[in-house]
């Protein structure tokens, strides 16, 4: 005889009763579903599971290791006795967990031919003595059934639906209560999953995500600008940094140690290596990333927080193959001129600093330090704006070492002369002050070997103002208008007229167009007219005047010499103007008449006057 049961693991153990003849071979098939739901149509694969069929008070049990989807028991009779009701259970051991999935009663039926003699080794027959009480129970059951039917007529389906709904609601409420209780525990976030969008995402718990950014509030920080939150900061860093996390601060965080009077914002990233703390140039100052620095200068002094900083620091004792580059910008403010220990002045600064650790003698040392400062100095309230690179040994900015000769490239541009008009070294200065007289485009000044060198090849050094070695057509092209208009005859024109001295070299020139020096009219009132001076073909010196430009020898003692002999001097004056007819016709000196000679002399006289060599 065969019997098939189905049970669901999401329900309590199900009651499954069946009957069997006491001496039959019996096969019981058990199907196990995950849930008692019509959506769950396929029984669980019980391969490897262990099913145990147990009969209470009877030394009969059957273990079966399931080899397929259905667990199948095969029994060989007999049961204890015909007429007996055997209580049994079926236990399922799956993945190490043992669950009672079914229980019930086996009613062992006798066969008719066994009448009068029992039907098994432990045979037991019922007797008529039991019929009376049983009939009473049947009658009572019938009365109860009739009453139930009458009640059902009234309540009927509504009651059934209510009961069903109540059961569902009760189960849902219980489940929700358990869920809320679990999520309310300190480790509740560990029950919530998290998966970042996009490819490569790794499933994590919300608890893991929380550790990515540890707020100092998690450690009891108050963040009111008064209470010392140092202990909370230390505790937050101790948790966050070893796990690769960050620390989140508040805008009014205060601590008694290095955080005193500072108001760090946003987020702190941990140092790369533990030893970096010991070798950091500013040990103890953490890196703060933020985008706002909000303070009240009138009430707080000595702000000294790194607004945004990136350090590159090598581990102590480790040789580096290349320079370590770091960058940070710093903004500080103080109403006290000596209140800032870093630069001793009030300033707004952008500092870029790079330095290399000289672990070995061959390590290269390159550094760059640029400071853009806006400072208020003294009672004059005059602003200094400059860009400075200083590598001198006597005035090290702080991280450049001591040997100035170690630096092959240096640049310095400083605007000086705050109260006077005479800026000595400047690049691109500008002033809107009406009291200033000079606007310097660029001024180079030095005691010796100072200037600008432009060298395409070689190792030219500055020996003069400008040294040019270039393969292009024009080594230097200068085109500019003076700030002041040139006024011929004006004293100021001569005083401030710009002068340029240029030495040109010519190699293999074949065209008159090469190596020109072009003078551009600087009269602001006129259109620009060029005058080119250059070496023509064969080395001839040429001057090409443009427009009405003319050649002037301005000096009172100016003369023109050719091969050491004066050929032109100032105009010879005192000559009168001839009257009568002039003639340029040729004549024979043997036969010329006096009138014809006089006419020819008058023509020559007029030509010299027209060329300006003679005059009144």
């Amino acid at each position: 005889m065969n019997q098939t049961f189905s049970v669901a693991l999401n329900q309590p153990a199900g009651q499954r009763d069946f009957s069997a003849y006491w001496d039959d071979d019996y096969t019981l098939t058990l199907r196990v579903y995950a849930t008692d739901s019509p959506d769950d149509t396929v029984p669980l694969d019980l391969t490897g599971a262990i099913l145990v069929f147990k009969v209470a008070q009877y030394p009969y049990s059957s273990n079966v290791v399931v080899s397929g989807q259905d667990g199948v028991f095969s029994f060989e009779g007999p049961f204890r006795g015909c007429g007996a009701r055997e209580e049994y259970t079926i236990e399922l051991t799956l993945a190490g967990d043992t669950t009672t999935v079914a229980y019930g009663t086996v009613v062992v039926a006798p066969r008719g031919e066994q009448y009068g003699y029992g039907c098994g080794p432990w045979g037991r027959y019922s007797t008529g003595a039991f019929i009376g009480p049983l009939q009473l129970l049947v009658d009572q059951a019938k009365v109860a059934s009739d009453e139930a039917m009458a009640a059902a007529e009234i309540l009927g389906p509504a009651a059934a639906e209510a009961v069903a709904s109540a059961e569902i609601a009760t189960n849902a409420a219980a489940s929700a209560t358990e869920t809320i209780a679990a999520l309310s525990l300190p480790n509740g976030a560990s029950l919530i999953g998290s998966l970042q969008a996009g490819p490569g995402s790794v499933p994590r718990t919300l608890q893991s995500r929380v550790l990515d950014l540890v707020s100092i509030k998690d450690k009891g920080a108050v963040i009111n600008g008064v209470t010392d939150d140092g202990a909370a900061i230390t505790a937050a860093r101790a948790v966050a940094f070893p796990a690769g996390g960050s620390v989140l601060y508040g805008g009014r965080t205060k601590a008694a140690d290095f955080w005193a009077n500072r108001s760090p914002l946003a987020q702190e990233w941990g140092k790369g290596l533990p030893t970096a703390y010991a070798t950091d140039m500013d040990a103890g100052k953490p890196v703060i990333g933020g985008f706002m620095f909000n303070g009240t200068p009138a009430t707080k002094l000595g702000y000294d927080a790194y607004f945004q900083r990136f350090d590159g620091v090598t581990q102590a004792g480790v040789d580096v193959a290349s320079s370590v580059v770091g960058f940070y910008s710093m903004q500080s403010y103080s109403t006290n001129s000596t209140g800032n220990a870093f630069n001793k002045t009030n300033q707004v600064a952008l500092v870029a600093n790079a330095s290399a650790m000289t672990a070995t003698a061959s390590a290269s040392v390159e550094a760059f330090n640029a400071i853009a400062a806006s400072a208020y100095i003294g009672p004059l309230s005059q602003m200094v704006v400059g860009i400075e690179a200083d590598v001198s040994a006597s005035n090290p900015p702080g991280w450049f070492g001591t040997a100035a000769t170690a630096y092959t490239v240096a640049f310095s541009a400083v605007l000086q002369g705050i109260a006077a008009d005479d800026a000595t070294v400047a690049f691109s200065s500008n002033s809107s002050s009406a009291t200033k007289t000079f606007w310097h485009g660029a001024v180079l000044a030095g005691s010796s070997k100072t200037g600008v060198t432009v060298a395409r090849n070689g190792t030219f050094r500055p020996e003069s103002g400008v040294w040019v070695s270039a393969a292009t057509t024009f080594g230097v092209y200068v085109g500019a208008k003076a700030k002041h208009a040139l006024n011929p005859g004006s004293a100021s024109d001569y005083t401030y007229r710009p002068s340029i001295g240029i030495g040109l070299g010519q190699e293999g020139a074949t065209s008159a167009a090469s190596h020109k020096v072009r003078f551009i009219s600087t009269d602001a009132a006129s259109a620009e007219v060029n005058t080119d001076v250059y070496a023509g073909v064969g080395g001839n010196f040429r001057i090409d005047f443009g427009g009405t430009n003319r050649f002037f020898v301005a000096s009172a003692n100016g003369y023109v010499f050719i091969q050491g002999t004066q050929v032109l001097a100032t105009r010879n004056v005192g000559w009168g103007v001839n009257s009568g007819t002039t003639s340029k016709a040729a004549f024979d000196t043997a036969t010329v008449t006096l009138p014809a000679l006089a006419q020819n002399v008058a023509a020559l006289h007029q030509a010299l006057r027209n060329h300006g060599l003679i005059g009144d």
Partner: protein
Amino acid sequence: MATISDLAKRTLQKLQVLAAGETPSAEDQELVVTKLMAVHAYLRKEDLLRWTVQDIPDYAEEPYVMMAAFLAAEDFGRVVSAANWQGGLSLIQSAVALPNTGPVRTEYF
């Protein structure tokens, strides 16, 4: 054994919503399945279940249909007697009662 989908179709036929050979609409099917699951839950509550919803035994099929038809009648504008509910329930109760051991003879010694 029958599935819930089979019983849903039979319930709709019993309600004369569905003629023989017709296929129920998804909405009707879903509604009747809900009623059948309500019957299932009620039987569990009454400790009368001896099966799972995937394997409703033959003797329980018609009681399910009767009881679900009674629950769903109003939704389809039909009138079904409450006797269907009680009758189905009685059939279930009877079916799951412990089996009789058969006639018992007097034992003589």
